[in-house]
Structures are given as C-alpha cells and as structure tokens.
Amino acid sequence: MQKSTIQFLLINCFLAIVLVSCGSVTKNYTPKKLDKTSYQSRYFSDSKTDYVYKTNITVYGNELSGIFIAKKINDTIHRVVFTTEFGNKLLDFEISEKSFKVNSIVSELDRKILINTLKEDFRLLLKKEYLIQEQFENESDNIYKSADGKRDNYLFLSKKDQKFEKLIHASATKEKITLTFSSENNIFAERIQIVHQNIKLKIELNYFKQE
C-alpha cells in the first residue's frame, strides 16, 4: 500500500514537472488585440553605419573577448566579422535571412556546431522585419509574437517609450535564446546581450565610441 502511494506521488511529481516545463512561453502574459501586423527593427538597419562593439563571449565557463563588427552591405546581407583586440580576424561571415557564407574562420573555431549557433544568433540579432500574428502584454511591455520557421520570436516593446528591449526566440514550449537591447533612441543599440537557455553561452556586445 505504502509502496504504491510513493509511486503515485512520484508519478504525480513527475507529471507536475513535465506540465510545468511544457507550459507555454506566453503563460505569464495576457492576450491582447493586435495593434500592428508588422514591426521593423532599426538596430542594424543603416547601411552607412559601421556597427562596432567590444565583445565578451562566455561559453561553458570559458571567456573569449574581441571586437564584433557588422555592416549592412546590401538590401538583404550583413557582413559580420569578429576580431581579437589586436585586430586578427577570427571569423568573417556574410549573412541574410536566407543565405549564409563563411568568408573565413580560424581553424580553432571551425566547428559546425559553433558556426550554426552563431549563424542563428546573428540572424536574430540582425533581423529587421517581423510579421506579427499575436499580441500579449505584461506590466511593462507589449509583446508581439512573430513566427520564425518552426519557432517563434517574441518581441518586447516597452509601453513607456515603445523601445524594442527584448527578443525571445522560443519553441512552442521552451525559451531558447534571449536577446536584450539597451538603446537611447531605439535606432542604435549601445548594449546587447545574447543568452542561450539550453547551452551555456552568453554573448555581450558593448558599443565603443571612437574619437
């Protein structure tokens, strides 16, 4: 009798855990009527701007730092380069929503899994156009759901000044990648964080002003 009670409890606990972890990403948000059907981010959209950031990457406890450079080279493609502080190029990509090209990468970083992860991160970072299907809100933000292949992007726009502050890239049940933007004017992001929920990877970008 006692044995079956324990089993029952265990199963219940297990179910509870499964249910909680399977909970929808939007469970803490309140649905709202759509106030727009599309959104355009301006953060990496200007073809005249050199986007140059001091970068710190933490991956499974290892630290890597350098300079992140992005530039819009035509209507759809961004050139993305990561160098050391000395200026040595570590990787050089050309990336758009649909295309991806590795111009160069040092052999130490030339791993398929790493390249694919960075490709996904940079695509999210540089993405400009979002089509909105659903809208939610919480206390501080309006939250827009935008389909992205099999997954969704949730855009957080502050209610106070309509700034694009956060993007959550998620499956139907789990948050995968979170990008947070700090921006004075909603045109240029001075500080950006990319945090992965399923792997221990964090990328911090800090814009540096040159004299």
Binding site: K48, D50, V52, K54, N56, E63, S65, I67, I69, K71, I73, R79, V81, T83, E85, F86, G87, N88, K89, V106, S107, N206, F208, K209, Q210, E211
Partner: protein, 208 residues
C-alpha cells in the same frame, strides 16, 4: 603633345619611384647594420601607439590606442586605453589578459603558433627580425624612411598573416609603423610614437 605625355609618364613613374624604391644590396647591408646597432642597445622601450584596423567594407578604420612596454629579453605589455581598457602581457611563456578588470591567463608554453607570434611582436617592435629564417624579406626606400616587407614561408602562419611591413625612421633606425596584412584588403596598422628607449620600466607594468 607627345613630349608632354612623355614628360607626364616620366613624372608619374619618377613619383612612384620616389614613394617606394627597392634598395640595392649595399643599401640593404648598411640598413640592417644600422638597425642591428640600435636594437642591440635597446634594453627597455616604451611607446604610445595608435592602432587602425582596416576592413575593406567599413567606411572608417577602427581606431584604438594606448601604451606599449618592452623589456629585455622578452617581456612585453600592450595596454589599450581608448576606447576601452584592455591589456595583454607576454611573460615567461604565458599571456596575461586584463579586460576591464577581468583577468585571465593563457599558457602558450606548448603553443607553437603563439610562440611565433610572440617572437614576431617583440621582433617587430625592436626591429630585429632580419635574421628570421621564417620570412622572405624585401627592402625598400621611402622619403625619410625605410621599409622592410616580411612574407611568411610557413603555410600555417601564412593563414593568419599574409605579410608584415615594418617602417623605420631613417635617422633613428627604429620602427615607426607596423602593418600586418591579412589579405590584400584587410590589415592592421600600428603607428608608434613618443618612443622612449632605455628608461627604467617598473616590473609592475608586466604583472597585469
């Protein structure tokens, strides 16, 4: 008209020669001797530097600057001050990094490529790289300056650096500019100025 064109061609080619002219064997020998004499005297060296990272697709070079210290035989400290604080010390087969207060160390004792790069940097700054068997070297004269171009022979090193160009002040026979070419379009140019030779440098500079 023809003479005008001929004169123009002469003028242009004359100008080109004035910019970068190959040294004769005798000039190479005397230039190497000058640099060797000076670099042998260098026990310590400190200098300000400005680094220009040129990427062909950018509208402007990325500019960073700071101070560099060198102490015989191979202590080296690069300190970036603007626009961020980042310093890197090469010491006893280790690289010590201080990134805005965040410290880390890399053991390069076993890394052949890093040992090479270390040797290269020290050689570049002191100017004494001419005996290096790993490069094919060519020599040029400029106005008031000499230029040495180093092309790596080794395929691994060549992947990182296509060519190194050291520009020397003719009078002082010391390095005033280091240019590291990654490809024909992309390079890092480091300009050294306010150089001080053989002043006392405190060891704390190399602790990071």
């Amino acid at each position: 008209m023809k003479t005008k064109i001929a004169l123009l061609i002469l003028f242009i080619s004359g100008n080109l020669f004035a910019q970068e002219q190959k040294m004769t064997a005798a000039e190479i020998a005397s230039f190497k001797e000058d640099v060797n004499v000076v670099s042998k005297k260098i026990k310590t060296l400190s200098t300000d530097f400005v680094q220009y990272k040129h990427l062909d697709f950018l509208s402007k070079d990325i500019e960073t600057s700071g101070k560099m210290f060198f102490k015989e035989p191979s202590l080296l400290s690069w300190q970036y001050k603007k626009p961020y604080n980042y310093s890197i010390v090469f010491k006893n087969g280790k690289i010590l990094i201080n990134d805005e207060g965040k410290k880390s160390a890399v053991d390069i004792g076993n890394s052949k490529i890093f040992a090479r790069i270390n040797k290269l940097i020290v050689g570049s700054v002191s100017g004494n790289m001419f005996d290096d068997k790993e490069f094919t070297i060519s020599y040029f004269k400029l106005k008031g300056q000499n230029l040495a171009k180093f092309v790596p022979k080794d395929a691994t090193l060549k992947k990182y650096i296509k060519q190194i160009e050291l520009t020397f002040d003719k009078e002082e026979a010391t390095v005033v500019q280091v240019k590291l070419l990654e490809s024909s379009e992309d390079y890092t140019r480091i300009v050294l100025k306010n150089k001080v030779i053989n002043a006392k440098i405190d060891d704390s500079v190399f602790t990071n």
